[in-house]
Each structure stands twice: as structure tokens, then as C-alpha cells.
Symmetry: C2
Subunit: 117 residues, 2 copies
């Protein structure tokens, strides 16, 4: 690993994770939406096995952070809510994935030493 | 990606993440302890820039789940608390990393399709 001893003083990569993206249900939502571009509420609810309330709360967090947008359309009298990942959401997910890749590399290259003060 | 359309019905890999391990501070703690085998409270506190209370709460969660163990020793009259990752903690971290690798693979192999019900 480049840096050797000096990296013991660098901030741990996991500290830069954003809980808005990292929390497991929201990470699932963002990766699904990144794959799909957009998906409707019913699909997300069924695929992630969430209640209306639980999915709604996570969509709210993501919307407040500007990571997704929702639009409602009517098929006849039946409403359908579409959820779309924003450009900012794509960037935030890419940043999360970059940190996860760093953590994975560290884990896979793990040696055994004892750290103390 | 193997499975094609049928994987739309498989549980999303992120759903199998364990929040005890996945939460970012605990993920940082477990990866540090996996690298170090053990570390003392002061080192973890400083490295992860946590307060005593915050670190203590996360160590409590990890201890309750059997992922780490703590032991106290005295250097003269000065107490030092050592935190050690357990075998179960190593296995749980390895399981987390396996899911993260799956998410990363999906992200990197991402095509563009629209998912609906």
C-alpha cells in the first residue's frame, strides 16, 4: 500500500461516506435507480420489500438531499409515482462506490499489525 | 450479467447488509480492527475523530452483537481499554465486503434500462 506508516494519520476512508447514500435501503434505491434511470413507486416497493411508509420516508430523505426527483402521472384515474435519480444523485452514488472500492482494496490487502497510540 | 430478466425478482443485494456492520463508523471500526487485530480506545477515538460517548456507543453496539470484545488493563494507575475483533466480527465483515463487491460489480456493469411494474 502506498504511504506506509503515514496513512495511519490520514482520515479513514469510511469517514467520508455520506449516510444519505450509504444507509442500506437508500443505497439499494440509488443503485436500482442508477440501473433503471427511473422506476415507479410500486416497482421499488415490491423489489425492495418495503412498506409504503418506509419507502416514502427514504424517498423523502433522498429528495431533500437532491439525489432523486419524483413525478406523478395518471393512467386513467390511477396515479403512478415515478422516481428518477438526479445528476447529483448519480455523482453521489459514484462517490460512495469509490469509497467502497477503497475499503474493499484495504480489506483484500489486509496485513496483520497491532495499532496502538 | 448472468440471470438476465430473472434477477429483477431476486432480493437486491444491499438488502442483506447488516446495519450493525454497515453503518459507517462501525464499518470504519471493524476494518481498522481487522487490520490491527486489536487497538486501544484512545487510538480509535483519535483515528476516527470521535468523542468518548460516540465511540463508546458504537463499541457497545458491536459488543452486543458479538463483533468485538473489550478488555481493560492498567499501565501503572492508567487504564487502557483494548478493543479486539472477534471471529464472528471477522466473518461479519467478510460478509459485508462480499455484498459491497457485488454492489460494485453491478454498478460498474450498469446498463441503462427502464424498470416498471
Amino acid at each position: 500500500m502506498p504511504g506506509g506508516e503515514s496513512d495511519a494519520r490520514a482520515p479513514h476512508p469510511a469517514l467520508s461516506l455520506d449516510e444519505a447514500v450509504h444507509q442500506k435501503t437508500r443505497l439499494a434505491l440509488l443503485t436500482l435507480l442508477d440501473e433503471a434511470g427511473q422506476a415507479d413507486f410500486a416497482y421499488l416497493k415490491r423489489t425492495l420489500d418495503l412498506t409504503d411508509g418506509n419507502l416514502g420516508r427514504h424517498i423523502d430523505v433522498l429528495t431533500t438531499q437532491g439525489l432523486v426527483e419524483t413525478t406523478k402521472e395518471f393512467i386513467g384515474r390511477r396515479p403512478r409515482t415515478w422516481v428518477t435519480i438526479t445528476r447529483h444523485g448519480e455523482q453521489a452514488l459514484a462517490a460512495e462506490m469509490e469509497v467502497l472500492a477503497t475499503l474493499l482494496d484495504r480489506f483484500r490487502n489486509n496485513g496483520t499489525t497491532t495499532r496502538t497510540e
